[in-house]
Symmetry: C2
Subunit: 160 residues, 2 copies
DNA sequence: TCATACGAGTCAACAATACTGACCTAATTG
DNA sequence: CAATTAGGTCAGTATTGTTGACTCGTATGA
């Protein structure tokens, strides 16, 4: 059913809307329990995740990834620094920059949250199989905008 | 790169986190401009979408899909009814129920928002090809929880 | 070297979306 | 008829986002 030729049909795309809503909702929810116990939210998780994936990232680069305002990030970042999950260091080349890294506690927390999500992805990978996973990657990569695609490709090498 | 065997690797799953974040962000953003012009938000879009896809749905069924509280939905639904996008009708069998449908204006608005997202999915479908789309569906379906999967299957007939 | 631009932090105010918990009405059902 | 259910409503709060203005210190180019 729904053969998805060159031109996606109406029902193809309606299904895609459903899929994106439910998969994203349940994937992000997976980490919520652990976050709530610590008085943190999803915004903290996102910051932790992208700092962990980009050690030494500058504040402005992180802002560009998250696409939120400086004030929204500041709230979250201040909490993470105060609670010892994130460390700041002045840039060597440009001392105005604050290079962000996870502390040991930050790495441990991020891993804990990641493990919750891993529990959801693992079975999905096994059930779907390698080819389906490759297709998933290909479609997801094509849905996002150019800047995000460039980021993905830089991290994961030209998304096969 | 990242062969995705039976067991997903760490980098497989890290990439999946990136993909879900960026694809969801950019897909939902696609409709935001049109929404903002009308003083509506994403919560309104979600309600419009699921009512359009389930004409005559009850309030409690819609709550179960969205997984938000009655109060959160009421705020959004009141606005949509007041502005003439959604109509309510008493259930024939159970007159306590308010069966929700889109008005002509509601359908037109939902379609307008859908077209913005279609513009993002269309090229993605063409670039990725039918097999990749099938894989995308398979993985996304497996990421969500059982209840969501049952909903998807009921709508789209046992996911391909 | 000095004006300008830039990275970052901060303050105040506000908006959207979610939450809890309590309470009400009307209709259904045992 | 009593209990349950569908739905609505009120009051208060939390999280995450926004705008706009302002400061501080560092780079950088004329």
């Amino acid at each position: 059913m729904s053969e998805s030729k060159d031109q996606p049909t109406e029902s193809d795309m309606r299904l895609a809307q459903d899929l994106l809503f439910f998969a994203y909702r349940d994937f992000t929810n997976a980490a919520d329990v652990a976050l709530t116990e610590l008085g943190l939210g999803r915004a903290h998780h996102r910051a932790l995740f992208f700092i962990g994936r980009n050690p030494g990232i500058t504040v402005s680069d992180l802002l560009a990834i998250l696409r939120i305002t400086k004030q929204s990030l500041a709230r979250v970042l201040t909490a993470l620094v105060d609670q010892g999950y994130v460390a700041q260091a002045s840039g060597r080349a440009d001392r105005r920059q604050r290079l962000l890294t996870l502390t040991a506690a930050g790495s441990a927390l991020e891993r804990k949250l990641f493990d919750r999500q891993r529990a959801r992805l693992g079975p999905a990978w096994r059930q779907a199989g390698p080819e389906a996973v490759a297709g998933f990657r290909c479609v997801m990569r094509a849905i996002m905008d150019d800047a995000a695609r460039a980021y993905i490709d830089a991290h994961d090498g030209k998304a096969d």
